[in-house]
Chain length 347, copies 2
């Protein structure tokens, strides 16, 4: 069976059950490709992995200062949260800072990304509203930016001045000409960019690099975003979710964010290990799984961190439930295993 491009395989007994194609790019802050698997140039819809770049456009409007958003609010702007009470309540407090209510938001409700929250919602026949969207923080941020730009209505439209700023910010952070960024419409109804996967890795390397840098004015937006996400990991996703557990485990040494339909960005601050890997400055990792399966994506991302030797074994062990989830059946019998037949090679 052809294994080209296959990053993960699930076996049941000795038989192959499923195979998953993925692309992996590892770059440094200058954008130099250190190693890769599959097609690191794969044009990839970044989805929520683009949130740090979208947040940068919000920060650059001055909205944080103008409306008194704190670091935790900024973390929520970068979040795909689980709609836990703390996420929804923070969203409402952020709206209050704008003297707005959730009718001003242009996202919609949806089932919670947390199984535990979703069960509670079902138990109580709760119908989620826009403030419950996993992207609610980003939407409040966009609304704030739009208000500062003088046009609060329909801030989600591609032609709105706020989205024009987002376009410029994304292209600049990816170091791409405008025409090399494609735009679609996200699940939350905002424009979402697509660009080569290695540029997503570069974006995350820049986030970590900004945190490493002495506080230079040009990098301060990205440093603020890095610190907001890594100091408030529980706001970026939620209890028991990968992004939260990853950033908790690494205690500020890396930032990580999921994008829907299976992409992931990680920025690793410079260390002896990143230098050994050949990075000049911080290191960026981006992964896209072709089939959109987020459970398999988490396994592959965790395997990439292990292969690159990022962090300690104890830190990586804290991700074991995502990296090596047991394949048990309804009687608790272990029926299979996974393998990761990819190799990270210099390009």
């Amino acid at each position: 069976m052809d294994m080209q491009g296959v990053a993960a395989v699930t076996y049941r007994g000795a038989s192959i059950e499923n195979r998953h194609l993925a692309h992996i790019a590892v770059v440094d802050a200058g954008g130099r490709m250190l190693c890769a698997f599959g097609d690191p140039g794969r044009v990839t819809l970044a989805r929520s992995a683009a949130k740090p770049a979208q947040a940068a456009a919000i920060v650059d409007t001055g909205a944080l200062e103008r409306y008194g958003f704190d670091e935790a609010d900024l973390a929520l702007m970068c979040a795909s949260h689980s709609s836990e009470t703390r996420h929804i309540e923070r969203t409402r407090r952020m709206l209050a800072k704008l003297h707005a209510d959730e009718s001003a938001l242009r996202c919609g409700g949806h089932p919670s990304l947390s199984d535990a929250v979703q069960r509670e919602w079902i138990r109580h026949d709760f119908v989620p509203t826009p403030a419950c969207s996993n992207c609610s923080g980003k939407h409040v941020g966009m609304l704030a930016g739009a208000m500062l730009l003088g046009d609060a209505a329909d801030y989600h439209e591609a032609g709105h001045p706020m989205q024009q700023r987002v376009r410029r910010t994304v292209a600049a952070l990816c170091e791409l000409p405008h025409e090399q960024v494609q735009w679609g419409i996200d699940g939350c109804n905002l424009p979402t960019p697509a660009f080569a996967l290695d540029r997503l890795a570069r974006l995350y390397a820049k986030l970590a690099d900004a945190a490493d840098a002495a506080v230079a004015a040009t990098d301060s937006t990205l440093a603020r975003i890095y610190h907001a996400m890594t100091r408030h990991p529980e706001l970026v996703a939620g209890e028991g979710r990968y992004c939260t557990e990853l950033m908790r485990a690494y205690e500020g040494a890396l930032v990580g964010k999921l994008g829907a339909d299976g992409c992931y960005g990680i920025g690793v601050r410079a260390s002896a290990r990143t230098r050994e890997l050949g990075a000049d400055g911080a290191l960026g990792i981006a992964v896209k799984i072709e089939d959109g399966r987020v459970d398999m994506l988490y396994m592959i991302v965790s395997e990439v961190l292990a292969r690159l030797g990022i962090g300690s074994e104890a830190q990586r062990e804290r991700l074991a439930a995502f990296h090596h989830p047991p394949l048990r059946n309804t009687r608790g019998v272990e029926v299979g295993h996974r393998s990761f037949p990819f190799e990270l090679r210099p390009r």
Copy 2:
């Protein structure tokens, strides 16, 4: 981007979001390959798509006559049901025919395959028991066969006489020597076979062929299974599920069954159309999606039926919600579409 082996693509705007590899085999009842895509020899864990063959081994023990199981009971033996009340109650009535209770079953409870049922379970804090397993009918059948063979305990073990019979039946129906069938352990804890995908297509062609044949003694087991499944489609899956809607739409002209992790078998009774397609006797179709995504599998299977021109447009239209589910975001905006870049070619 390399499209080899890609059967389905999801676009968001103009950008490719996900790609899905699949294998497709179309054969006739004699096993002749009419056309294929990908690797029709892909060794595939048939999972619940093997249930008709497992049921044949049960029927051949004489258990239906001995314990008074009717045609609907046989349909439930072939089912991956939704754990609706009618499924669970029938399971209990079948157990009563054996003077057994569900403690004799060797499957385990699990979340319902039906979203509606699962919500009800959550609302009522219901903990599913073995009789609620989607495979409960098969397990009662296996228990019945095991009782007739004089050993009711641990009928699920690979070495049990009932499972030895299943092994012989599966190999015989696939026309494979024993050693070319691999065995793993299924989600419900029974042994589950893996064999080349075109043999799964052949198994389903034989089911349909048996229904076409004059009632010959050698084919009667398969004909009984075909009729049980197609006359009781609501027992084979459940309300709103693909297998049920497919068999309802085709009104006895085909039998179809899902296997977990993304494989599907269809047997089509002989018609002017199957003869045009070159089939001698009935026609069999088998599909395996590499990534295990059942939602994408249903789209591909529906597309295969359309490409082959099986049934009327009106019949295929009844599957539109599975074939072309709209890609809408949380505000109801249509954000993308799918394409099916595969071609079915003679081999």
